[in-house]
Amino acid sequence: MKQKVVPIVLVLSLLLNVVVIYFLANEPTQEERGRHMAIQEISFAITSLEGCEARWNQFDYTEAVAHLYAVCQHVESLRKVEYSVTTQPFQELYGAAAFYPEVVRENEAEMIAALSKINTEDCLTDEEIMGGFKAFTEEMKIKAVEAELNRHRS
């Protein structure tokens, strides 16, 4: 009896191992989910900004800022899983959008174009695209600082 049971249980146990490993391998990882959600939020932000570009309104703008903030959060969660993308460019863009709406308003088309380049999950790991995006956000930051200085001067 025991001689028959042991091989059967062994086969079942090995099968269970295979099934669990299969599901683990096919389940989207936190990194994949984070990347997917970051891209989703970027596209939401673009849609809201396009609404503002067509006709400036506070609702769309506040919504765009919230989406940009969510992008920062998802990218931050990627960093937790040792992802190479830095949160800095996204944080700078969010900061400029949240605190200097007039700067964004003057550069809306460029902002939409910069965000539109990050249109797939792979773009987040593409050094060229991310390098261009970082350069854009630094430019926005400089413009925001200039706007702040002009405000103080006037």
Binding site: V6, L10, N17, E63, A66
Partner: protein
């Protein structure tokens, strides 16, 4: 030889099953705890900004403070969405509703700040699963809805 080998293999396989189960549960718990803590952090940020508005601090920038709180609520909603993966988390729906109301009816939200701040001020991630805290937030949202209805009647 075969008789000895099979039970050993079986024991190893069962151990592997156990190890896999522990690994899955631990990884899942760690991820859930991370997103729950982000939800709590974002709600805390939003509550502290709303507190500043309530206290009348920096009235010149009250609108900017409210907009920032709106972003934080959206951040909390996004994190709560990821707590339970594809399963429904009550906070996901509640925070999304709150974000919408902050976006479209800021006056109604401001009229219910005290109740809202209280509902949003959670200290531990375990409170996210506390039925009383969930009901507290539902009630705050209900109050906001009533204010919106009153405002619309007035118009």
């Amino acid at each position: 030889m075969k008789k000895k080998f099979l039970p050993i293999l079986l024991a190893v396989s069962l151990l592997a099953n156990l190890a896999l189960a522990v690994m899955v549960v631990r990884a899942d718990r760690e991820v859930q705890e991370y997103h729950a803590s982000v939800t709590l952090r974002e709600m805390g940020f939003a509550a502290s900004f709303l507190e500043k508005i309530q206290a009348g601090e920096d009235p010149e920038h009250a609108e900017a403070l409210f907009d920032s709180a709106t972003s934080f609520v959206y951040g909390a909603y996004q994190a709560s969405y990821r707590i339970l993966k594809d399963e429904f988390s009550p906070w996901e729906g509640l925070l999304f509703d709150l974000w919408n109301r902050m976006l479209y009816y800021p006056e109604a939200v401001e009229a219910n700040l005290e109740e809202l701040i209280l509902a949003m001020s959670l200290e531990e991630t375990s409170q996210l699963y506390d039925e009383t805290r969930i009901q507290q937030m539902e009630h705050a949202l209900q109050s906001i809805m009533e204010t919106i209805a009153q405002m619309q009647e007035g118009e």
